[in-house]
């Protein structure tokens, strides 16, 4: 099944549950009406939260840049000895 159909199916299921809630009036109706808005707002919050958490814990590796620089020096030295023209940047 295409991904878009899966997502639509999910949304339809959620809508069906919502309509069910409206019909059965388990929760007071005026609150049930607001549920889709809660849903959208919480989805948005989830998105921002995930981006925020991701940003805060963004894995960085400054020491890798240093190690790479060492590798570059080592490689240039080796290759120069063997006649590979690595002089020009």
């Amino acid at each position: 099944m295409k991904q878009i159909l899966k997502i639509i199916a999910l949304l339809v299921t959620i809508s069906a549950m919502w309509i069910g809630l409206l019909e059965m009036s388990v929760v007071p109706q005026n609150q049930t009406w607001l549920l889709p808005i809660y849903f959208i707002v919480s989805l948005g919050c989830y998105g921002f939260l995930m981006v925020g958490i991701g940003l805060m814990h963004f894995p960085t590796c400054p020491h890798e840049a240093v190690l790479l620089q060492q590798d570059v020096v080592e490689a240039k030295h080796y290759l120069k000895q063997r006649g590979v023209d690595v002089a020009s940047e």
Binding site: K2, Q3, I4, K6, I7, G47, M50, V51, G54, L55, F58, P59, T60, C61, P62, E64, A65, L68, D71, V72, E74, A75, K76, Y78, L79, R82, G83, V84, D85, V86, S88, E89
Partner: protein, 245 residues
């Protein structure tokens, strides 16, 4: 069809495909580092150069003198023809049963190759993909804006595509050759959306995908900044994958 040869045997050969354009220094460094880190492994490096004017091909010929032209294969093309077709071109000349795809700009460090191979042998996976977003991985040289767009793109993709891998746009990957051939023929995107399409389609086709942490060092600071057009391309790619996979 899955290739069912025994794993971890001595018969495995790895073909590294490295597309280049004006990478005369970097390609030399990469070749040196590959030979340094892949000892006791049967491999070949296939360099697909798109007619670089800076003499990349001359350097490759010098490297062939040092390491042998059976280990370093130069498969040049006359002009810049794009990344997707570069892989296809390299794949035609690959003699290994596994193929590794990596960038030539040294953001993909060859020291991770052994962990790709080890992971594949341990799990029997068809694809091992490098991820920057797990413990042991990381990025260096990105500004806040670049990190923000990367994170936003990732959250969008994870929410809507459920891809099953943590790093969709990274392109440092090991593929079983038959799997790469299958995937490359079913992917149509360009640029880095192509990398995303490859891994999403692989996931949908039910291929066994494993991840290994890699670090990604952007040496030219800010070179990979994302402009508005890249963001639009990304969103179009996302929508395309939503309706076609």
């Amino acid at each position: 069809m899955e290739d069912v040869r025994p794993e971890g045997g001595a018969g495995d050969k790895y073909s590294l495909i490295v597309p280049t354009y004006n990478e005369r220094l970097n390609i030399a460094l990469i070749v040196y580092l590959v030979f340094k880190h892949l000892r006791d492994v049967d491999f070949e490096i296939i360099i697909v150069d798109d007619g670089s004017p800076d003499g990349t091909q001359d350097i490759v010929k010098q490297l062939q003198q040092v390491y042998g032209d059976d280990r370093i294969l130069l498969r040049a093309r006359p002009r810049k023809l794009g990344l997707g077709t570069a892989y296809r071109h390299g794949l035609k000349h690959a003699s290994g049963n596994f193929v590794v795809i990596m960038d030539a700009d040294l953001s993909h460090h060859p020291k991770y190759l052994p962990s790709f191979i080890k992971k594949q042998q341990e799990t029997g996976a068809s694809i091992v993909t490098g991820t920057r977003y797990v413990k042991g991985g990381g990025v260096h040289g990105w500004n806040l804006m670049r990190k923000l767009t990367s994170r936003g793109a990732n959250v969008l993709a994870q929410t809507f595509l459920w891809p099953g891998v943590s790093d969709l746009t990274g392109s440092f990957r090991l593929y079983r050759k038959s799997v790469l051939e299958d995937l490359i023929n079913s992917c149509v995107s360009k640029g880095y959306v192509f990398q995303m399409e490859m891994i999403v389609r692989a996931s949908r086709k039910g291929y066994h995908i494993e991840e290994v942490p890699i670090t990604f060092v952007d040496r030219v600071f800010g070179s990979s900044k994302l402009g508005g057009s890249e963001i639009v391309e990304y969103l179009k790619g996302l929508a395309y994958l939503l309706v076609t996979t």
